[in-house]
Structures are given as C-alpha cells and as structure tokens.
Symmetry: C3
Subunit: 213 residues, 3 copies
Amino acid sequence: MPQNLLLLFELLGTVAFALSGAMVALSKKMDIFGVAVLGLVTAVGGGVIRDLVLGITPPATFKNPVYATVAIIVSVAAFVPAIRRFLFAKPGLYDKFLLLMDSIGLGIFTVVGIETAYIAGHSSSWFLLIFVGVITGCGGGILRDILAQNTPAVLVKHFYASASIIGAVVCILLWKLFGQSAAIIGGAFSVLVLRLLAAKYQWSLPKPENDFE
Amino acid sequence: MPQNLLLLFELLGTVAFALSGAMVALSKKMDIFGVAVLGLVTAVGGGVIRDLVLGITPPATFKNPVYATVAIIVSVAAFVPAIRRFLFAKPGLYDKFLLLMDSIGLGIFTVVGIETAYIAGHSSSWFLLIFVGVITGCGGGILRDILAQNTPAVLVKHFYASASIIGAVVCILLWKLFGQSAAIIGGAFSVLVLRLLAAKYQWSLPKPENDFE
Amino acid sequence: MPQNLLLLFELLGTVAFALSGAMVALSKKMDIFGVAVLGLVTAVGGGVIRDLVLGITPPATFKNPVYATVAIIVSVAAFVPAIRRFLFAKPGLYDKFLLLMDSIGLGIFTVVGIETAYIAGHSSSWFLLIFVGVITGCGGGILRDILAQNTPAVLVKHFYASASIIGAVVCILLWKLFGQSAAIIGGAFSVLVLRLLAAKYQWSLPKPENDFE
C-alpha cells in the first residue's frame, strides 16, 4: 500500500473527526477555544488512549503534531461564520460529505490502531488488537461526547462501533492470511462499506423491549 | 488461600459488575451493543485504570481476556427479555442477589488491586496501595456512570467507596502483619461485611446542611 | 528560584484547587466522602494525567502524597459548616481570595508541568510541552466537572485555559533563552497577570453568532 495514500486518508479522517467535534462544540455555543479543543480531542483522542494502553509514551500525536495542527486549523475554520454558512448552505450535501469522510476516518483509524499494536509486538492477542482498533476509531468521539455532556454516540448510534469491530476482525484475519497491505486496505474498506450501507438502509441493532421498566 | 477460590470470587464479582453495567444501559434504552460495552467497561474498567497508573501495559485484562469475555456474555444475556423477566420476577430477591454479588466483587477487586501493586513492587506507599485497591473496586462503576451520564454512584451512594477504603486499610495492615493470605481474605471480608451492614442499617455519611446555598 | 518558594506556591495552588472541587461537590449536595474525593481529584488530577502521558508511573502524587493529603484536609475542612459560614460571610472577599489562589495555582501548575516534561527529557516538542503544561493546570478541573456532571469550565470559561496556553509559551521561550528560573517565574507570572486582567476586564473569546442553528 502506498504510504502517501495512507497519509492522505489519515488526514481526511482527521479533518472529518475535527469537523464533527467542532460542530458539537458550536451547537453547545462554546467559544472559539472550546471549539478548537473539542475538534482536537475528537481527532487525536482515540490515538492517545490507544498509545496509553499500549504503553507508548508520550503518545505518537505529541511526537508528530501534524494531525493535531490540522485538527486545530479545521476547527477554527469551522468557527468562521462564512465558512459555516457555506457548509450549511446545502445541508444534504454537507451531511453526505461528512458521512463519507467520517466513515473513511473510522476505517483508516481502526486499521491504523491495529497496525500500531502489531508494530509494538502485540500480534497474538485478538482482544487487544480489536480493542485498540476500535478505541483508535471511536475513542475521540467518546471523549468529545463526555466533554460536551452528550450521551456517547457510539453507545446509541446504530452500527457505528459495530462497523469498526467487524472491520477490525477483517483486518486481523487478512493480516494473518495475506500480510499488512491487504489487511489495511481490506479492513478500512470493510468499515467504509458497512457504514455507508448502514446509513443508506438505516440498519439498527436490537433495543430493549418496552416491557423493561 | 486456594487460588481456585480467588478465581471463582473474581468471576462472581465480574458477573455482578457486568450485570450492574448492563442494567444501567438497559434503563437508558441503549441497544445491544451499548449494553455489552457498558457491562464490559463496568467489569474491567477499574483494573485497566489501575494498570495504567501502575505502568502495566497493556493492562492485564487484554492479556487474559477471560473476564472480559464473561462480562460480554453476561451483558448480552441480560439483554434477552426472557432472562430479564426472570431476574425481575422477584425484585426483592434479585436486589439482594445483586447486592451480595456486587459486595463480593467490590471486596475481591479491592484486594486484587492491592495484590497487583504489591506484585509490581509498590509495597511501601500506603496512599498508592489504597488508591489502586479503591480504583480497582470502584473505577468500573465510575466509568459506567460517566458514559451513561449519571452522577457517579460512588460520590453519592453512602458507604460504597468508604467500605472499599476501610477494606483496603485492613488488607494492607494484615499483609504487613500476617502476609498475603490473611490480607486477601480479611480485606475482602471486611468490605463485604461493611457493605451488607451499611445496606441493612442504611448507613450514610454526613451531608452538607441546608444553610449551604 | 528558591525551591521553598516554589513549594509554597504549589501548596497554595493545591489548596485553591481542592477548595474549588469541594465547593462544586457541596453545591451538588454530595456527602463528606464525595466532597473529599472531588477536592482531591481537582487538586492532583491534572498532574496524574500529565504523568500518564509522559510515561511516569506511578504518577508523582502517589510517591509523595503531601499534596493529596493537603487536598483532602482542605476539602474536609470546607465541609464543616462553621468554616463554610466563615468563608461565605463576605462573598466578595472570598471570591477575590479564591480567584487569586486559583490563578496562582494555574500559573504554578502550568510551569511545573513543563518543568516535569523537561526533566523527563522532552525539551524539543513544543506541542508536548504546551500540552503537559496546560493539562497539569487544567486537567484537575476537567475531571472535577466530568465527575460533577457540569460542562467543563475550561471549554466555556473565558480566558482560563487561554491564559495557561500563553503562559506555557512564555515559559518555554524563557527556558530556551534564559534557563529554568526565568522560565518558571516568568511563565507563572504571565498566567497570573493574564487571569487577573481577564477577570477584572471580563475578557471573553469570540462565540458563535446567532445564525448558527
């Protein structure tokens, strides 16, 4: 897999995640600092939790702050009314654009998490590999929702973390069978396709029946 | 102390903690994924925080995922309406059963946390030993309540964390006086007895008087 | 810089932060245990996050629990009605006293965080240095607000974290130009002055315009 393409996808995912954090902050009427922090946390928070769990300190985002810088710039840009009006001019188009980027981000971040664990020498524990993949993909959004006092979206948004989990399993299987490149492409692609299908056909997971008090 | 008995108690505590997380998720109308995640986090979250504080990475739960697996199975089972109806058929009995298991879990997890710190070579710092005992016992519940947007129960539930703290002190004292077995049995037993007495006689700690605005 | 003076300032900051945590807990009608925990978490939480990010385990506060002990004593004292009545007798004076101590604490904790990173050998990454400074200063308050279910004050309180960020930059610049003493004094002083000016003149950062839905 061309390294440049992976870098480009990671940047796309960072932009999408930063935008989602900034949007939540704006909806909570936070000031420009809060918007920048929430965008930053959403974009890099998952990777920080992953690195702490793997014992990689300081976490990678502090050694190479390019993603953090992009996340801050994107968040501050989202704060500018003219840019926001542009983004909101066609809500349908904007929503589709954000869904696509967010899905690419979720897929890329999931496989990057697994790749990080492999590089750190943790290739034998399935549970750890899946966990670091999913927390890299979903952790930033969880921190965003905790800070913004929202119910964490992953706990109620149908088929978001589920797509990340399935993609993580696909990624690990492909890694063991065909090696790194197939795993990264196949895993990220699985998440992307599942997310887009789930959004189109409004998949949902079983919820408790009404008999529960 | 027979190792098998400790393992059995740890499993009991895991089941009780997973159930408490699943019940909170069900009361928030989360879907089956949210229920499984909240059950899992409640059961293993305290140990993960403990290991991060002690520098044990990846945390033990990722190296030996038996407890995590049990927690997920229990949570998914609690999602099944028939099982839920059975558990709720006799609310009084269910509550007593959950209280007993939760108290066993709190006691066992508290002493396991202290044991982990001892094994990691931190036997001299009382503050650290008490902290890791209490965070192993209470940390999962704190994460559960943060994710579910509830006020953390340990901050308002009378004599929950207090029982864990007293049990931790008893455990450390016994360890220094009589060694590991006495510490584990005596510490866990103290927590269990204190929790049951507190529940029976409704002990509560002083709260601020009404003069406070 | 005289080491004793730094120690005194750190104690002052600890007292102020513990008080702010205890006050939040009291306003939420928590019992004496909740008050002590929230005061403790507010005072030492930022340093714990900093140490985990830097890979310093167990975090410093567990090796030298003097600050934790002070935080608990202060929090329990704030619980006593007579002391509270005394503090609230002159709300204006109390507010000014708390603002001054909190600003000293924020300044000291910010530069202590940067100093810790320098000592741990991370002098080259600006992003890391600023982050650990700000998280040492603001992290305890963030944990306090998450546990108390408040919107994190740093995300909405004008010019709080901003003062910490600017002070961190001043500190790092001074460190590179004139060494440690100038950096610690100049950095902490910058935060203090900015906070007091911001409070006096009610500085605020731009917020989203009303056109945002």
